[in-house]
Each structure stands twice: as C-alpha cells, then as structure tokens.
C-alpha cells in the first residue's frame, strides 16, 4: 500500500521488498536451508578461520595489557584518551543502525525492514560487545571494573553519579540488554521452524531449547506481538539516548572541541550514518554469497543509502557548525582548535575526514549509484573510515593541544593499540560468520507477512 502511494507520488517504479513469485514455503525453504541443508563451504571456513585468528590476536593483546598495564599503549599526558575511546565510540555508533531498523522502523511500519532487521540486530549485538571491551580495558585495572556499578560495598561509596562516565555504564549495559532481548525474542518463532526442520538430533535439541516450546498457537503469537512491540517501544528512545550519553563524555568537559551543545544530535546522526554503512558492507556480500537477492533487493540497498545520505548531511551540518563557531564564537581556544585541525600535525586526517564523510557520500544523490552494490560497498567503506577518523579527530586533536602551550604533545598509537582495534574487527566478523552459519539471518516469519498470501481476505 505504502509502496503504491510512494510510486504514484514519485512517478517511478520502485524495486519490491521481496521479488515476486515467492510463497510461504519457498521463503521458509530458502532461508532455513542456508542453515540446515547447505554444506559449510570452504570459503566460510577460510573466512571464519582468518577472523578467528584476529580474535586470538585480540586476546593476546589484552593478555599483555593486563600483564603490563596501559603503558603499552600510546596514551600519555596530554592525550590520555587514545584508541580505546576512539574505538569505543566508533563501535557503539555502528550498533545504532540495528536498533533503528528493528525498533523505529517497526513502529513506523516500514515493511522493508523485515529482511534486514535480523542481521542488523546481530550486528548491533556484536558491535556493542566489541565496544564494551574498550571502556573496560581502558580503566587500567579491569578486574576492578565492577566498581563502576552502584552496589552496597564495604567502602560505603557510590560511583560519582554526576560523571557522564557512569551514565555511560548504564546507557551501554541497558542498550546491550535490550538489544539482546529484542534479537532473541524475534528469533523464537524462527528457532521453532529450525527445530522442526532440522534432521540432526543435536541441532534439534539446541534449537528446541532456544525455541522455548514455541507452538505457533494464536495465544503465542498474541504474546509475541505484544512483547515485541513493547520492546520496540523501549528500544526506540535508546537509539537517541545511548549516543547522546556517549557524546556527554565529551560535551560535559571543558576541553575546546568537546565542550559544545551540538554534540548529542550530531553524534546520534553520525552513529546511524556509520551503522547503515556497516549494514550495507555486510548485506552486499551476504546477499551475493547466499543468493538472497530476492529478499534483500535493490530497494533495501537504496533505502539504506538514502538514510546514509540524510544522516551524512546532519553530520556535515555538525562539522560546518563546529568550524563556523570556531571562527565566529570569539573564544581564542576554539579558534586555535580550528587552526590546529586545519594546519596542525593531524591536518591530513581532518581533511580526509571531510573527504570521507562529506564529499564522497554526495555521489549517493545519483540513483544509479544507490542501486549499484559494488559502488555502495565502496562508499560504505569510505564512510566507516571517515567516521573512525571523526572520533580520532575529536578525541586526539582536542586533547593534544588545549590550553597550555607547555603541555602540548603528540599521540602515536603503538602496535598494541592497532592489534586491539583490528582484533575487535576480527571478533566482530568472526561472530557474524558464526551467526550466518547457525541462525536464520533473515526473519522467516516476518518475510512471509510480506507475501501476497499473507493479505487477509474478507
């Protein structure tokens, strides 16, 4: 219906959200057979093996960190926040696309979300897990990280509730919990399908436990819909609040380049921007490898590209405002920050930030590119690099030269910084490999609601 109205308004034919010719049976067969019948390919083993090795590298870097302390990193005074915070913000931002797709688009009844929500949610979980590592390890004594939680301790002190770093703990842990529940509840009907279809008795029992006795009765569906809607309602404010709180880590301080009220909206937009870039980077190869072009159509790619374009423009507005206020605001420290970004030792990265996040994505105005998977894949990669650079510029360049000339300094990441960062990418992708292998990466029952068969007849 909505599609028809949109097509009439724009006067051009849009790609469907599911290719014509499918039936309930064919949708279930195609998606569940990826998990149940398709033999595990050599390519999967190679890919998983490679990223698993990177995960092991992460563990090695972390073990050495726990042994030696944060001195093995490049952080020092004046740049006390280096890669750990850059990567934390980057990862947590990437997670936001999943929640936006699953919660907000659900409430807005955007039916095209049905084919990408499952793996976008999985991506959210793994991204938040990767993000969660960094604040934990950057505390220096991670075995005491439970001190961040308010519990009745023998010291009779509470965490400093006025500190945004404590808000962070609550924001991120709430986010992870809600995302996990949302993902799992959405999986239950599909897990029951896998339980019923799998022939391997071991798999049957595992899927059976996870399906929690789902029978597909009307009462089950009623409860399912209610809880799913409730969780969507709970998750919706999180899309905005989590990255707002993350931006408070910076905005509440007085460092030039951090102390600015534009941070919350511009961080949230940036989060969704990078999140959709990651969704595209994952969806494009997956639909190709598993022949899912019928389900993840050009429509999905184009819509994601449009979201990227819109959020990218909000981010651009943020950059322009930062630069404008540096010049117009009258604070010599802010003016110096702008100068330092443009002419300082990290100027190359600042220019690259504009190129990656603002200039290159403007090609998405061209419809042809929005529907070309290869081009979208490349642009998404550029955006992910750009969003990483943004956090690097915010964290490092602001701290590197703030108020006192005598305490100016430089930040150089060490090999341990890089190993940790690349290691989390490995962990994230290894988890994605496992996910597509053992769980239905597209929601079977939600796809079936998109079919003509599902339309209720009077």
């Amino acid at each position: 219906m909505a599609q028809r109205i949109e097509e009439e308004r724009s006067g051009r034919k849009q790609a469907p959200v599911i290719e014509p010719g499918h039936t309930f049976g064919s949708v279930t067969d195609q998606i569940s057979s990826i998990v149940l019948n398709r033999p595990t390919s050599t390519g999967w083993f190679i890919g998983f093996g490679f990223f698993f090795m990177l995960t092991m590298m992460l563990l090695y870097a972390l073990a050495y960190l726990f042994l030696k302390g944060t001195g093995i990193w490049g952080v020092n005074i004046p740049v006390g926040w280096g890669f750990a915070i850059v990567n934390f913000v980057w990862w947590i931002g990437i997670g936001h696309a999943g929640t936006l797709i699953s919660a907000i688009l659900l409430l807005l009844r955007q039916s095209w979300r049905n084919s990408i929500n499952r793996f976008a949610e999985a991506m959210t979980l793994f991204a938040v897990a990767s993000a969660g590592i960094f604040p934990l390890i950057h505390t220096g004594r991670p075995w005491l990280a439970y001190w961040l939680f308010p519990y009745p301790n023998t010291m009779r002190v509470w965490p400093q509730f006025r500190s945004p770093l404590v808000w962070d703990v609550f924001a991120v842990s709430t986010y992870f919990t809600i995302s996990l529940l949302f993902w799992f509840i959405g999986l239950i009907p599909d897990l029951a399908t896998l339980r019923d279809r799998s022939e391997n008795p071991f798999a049957k029992i595992i899927y059976g436990i996870l399906a929690m006795g789902w029978r597909g009765s009307a009462r089950h569906w009623h409860r399912y819909e209610t809880s799913y809607l409730l969780l969507a309602g709970l998750a919706t404010p999180l899309v905005l609040s989590v990255h707002t709180v993350v931006s408070f880590d910076f905005a509440v301080s007085i460092v030039p380049g951090w102390h600015t009220t534009i941070f919350p909206p511009y961080f949230v937009a940036g989060a969704i921007y990078s999140g959709f870039a990651m969704v595209l980077m994952l969806a494009i190869p997956i639909r190709k490898i598993y022949n899912l072009e019928d389900f993840i159509t050009e429509r999905h790619l184009e819509n994601s590209a449009k979201v990227m374009l819109a959020t990218g423009l909000i981010v651009a507005y943020g950059y322009v405002m930062e630069a404008f206020l540096g010049w117009y605001g009258g604070s010599k420290y802010d003016a110096f920050l702008l100068w330092n970004r443009l002419h300082g030792p990290y100027a190359f990265f600042y220019i690259m930030l504009w190129v990656c996040n603002i200039i290159v994505p403007q090609v998405l105005w061209i419809r042809k590119l929005r529907t070309t998977p290869a081009a979208l894949f490349l642009i998404s990669g550029v955006v992910l690099v750009g969003m990483w650079l943004e956090r690097f510029i915010i964290v490092v360049v602001s701290l590197q030269r703030d108020f006192l000339n005598s305490s100016f300094g430089m930040y150089y990441p060490t090999r341990w910084d890089w190993m940790t960062y690349i290691g989390t990418i490995g962990m994230f992708l290894a988890a994605m490999f496992l996910f597509v292998r053992i769980l239905p990466m597209i929601s079977i029952f939600e796809m079936r609601t998109l079919l003509p068969e599902a339309e209720v007849k009077e």
Binding site: T154, M155, R156, V157, R195, G213
Partner: protein
Amino acid sequence: MQIFHRSTNTLSRATIFGAVFVVAAAFLVLAEVQRSPYITYEGVRKPQPVPFSHQHHVTGLGIDCRYCHTSVEQSSFAGIPPTKTCMNCHSQIWTNAALLEPVRESYRSNKSLQWTRVNQLPDYVYFNHSIHVNKGVGCNTCHGPVDQMPLMYQNASMQMEWCLECHRGAEKFVRPRDQVFNMRYQQPSTTTPVVFAGASFTDQESLGRAIVQNYKVRAVKDITNCDTCHR
C-alpha cells in the same frame, strides 16, 4: 512439534524464577563474607609471643594507655613499647615467671619482642593517631573495651564503611579531650552529665556539636575527601 516432555515447562519456569533468587542469594553471601571476621579479622585473637593481658594491666593495675603507647598524642603511630618499659616493673615483680621468659630474653639479648600486629590498616591509607586523639576521639571508640581484653583483638572491621561512619558524623562519637584515655567514659545522659567548656551536657548530640565547634573539627566535606586518607 515438541521434542521435550511437557514437564520441561515447569522446569524452565522454575529455572528462570529460581535464578533470580540464586543470584540475589549469591550477592548476599558475598556481601556477608566480605564483612565477616574471616576477611576482616574482627574479634580474632592472634597468637602473641607473650600472652599480654591489657585487662590485667589497665583495669587491674590502673596503668594509663600512654605509659606504653607514648607517641599517641604527637605521632601518627601510637608506639609499641620497648622491652625496657616492661622491665621497669618486671625486673622487680614476677622476675621468675616462666610466661615472662621471652621478655627477659629480649632484655638480655637486646632483641625486640616480635609482637603480632592486631590493628592493621592497608598501606594506601594514611592514618594519624595524634589528630584523632586531639580532636576528642576516645581510645575505645575505635579499639573497643581494651581494658576488658585478656588477649588483644581487633574491635572493628577496619573497612572503609566503618571509618566513614565517624567521618560523616563525628559529633556522634567525640568526647572532651580529658576523657580520651578514660576507658570507662560514658556518653552523656540525664543521670551522667558531661561537663565541657564550663557547661554541662546531658545528651551526645549537643555535646558533640559543641566539641566539633570548639575543637575545630573540619567539615564533613573536608574529612570525607578522598585525599584526606588516600594521599
């Protein structure tokens, strides 16, 4: 198609419901263990080279705390007496007691007695006896009824929550300076008023406030600052 028996429903409900209590109980047990003498050594009598009785020396003989713990009013450390202090009396009395042989041996060989420390704070805590004594904190406020201890034991948990109890409300504990070493001191009541600065007080609340003001005990926000104790 169900692959589990229907009794699994009850089992899974019990698991989910029970998990809440199991987790809550685990936290409760942890909190209790952390505060128990097993961790804190509160009330534990540690073995000593000589079974020295504070009860006998303080209550029985009436020796003042400062006779042995000489530096308590001027120093962070109250001071452990040298063997010479023991021998002031024990060269005259109980000179042949077998229990005191380690003391005499120490005196002869000029080697200190190796007492086992009872009240121990961690190294990252800066603690000063003199400031507490001079602001009106009685010995037994922290050390307990030492005059009734045949063998010395630690009276309090020595955990930070215990320190903060007083640092967040010193007026509930302080007493006049001349009563600091009085082990039988009692907080004021209508039957046992306490005289301080020329006035008679019948309740701890007003006495405490007067002492805090008169002795210039620092504000709560100062004495609960992290770096007051963790320097």
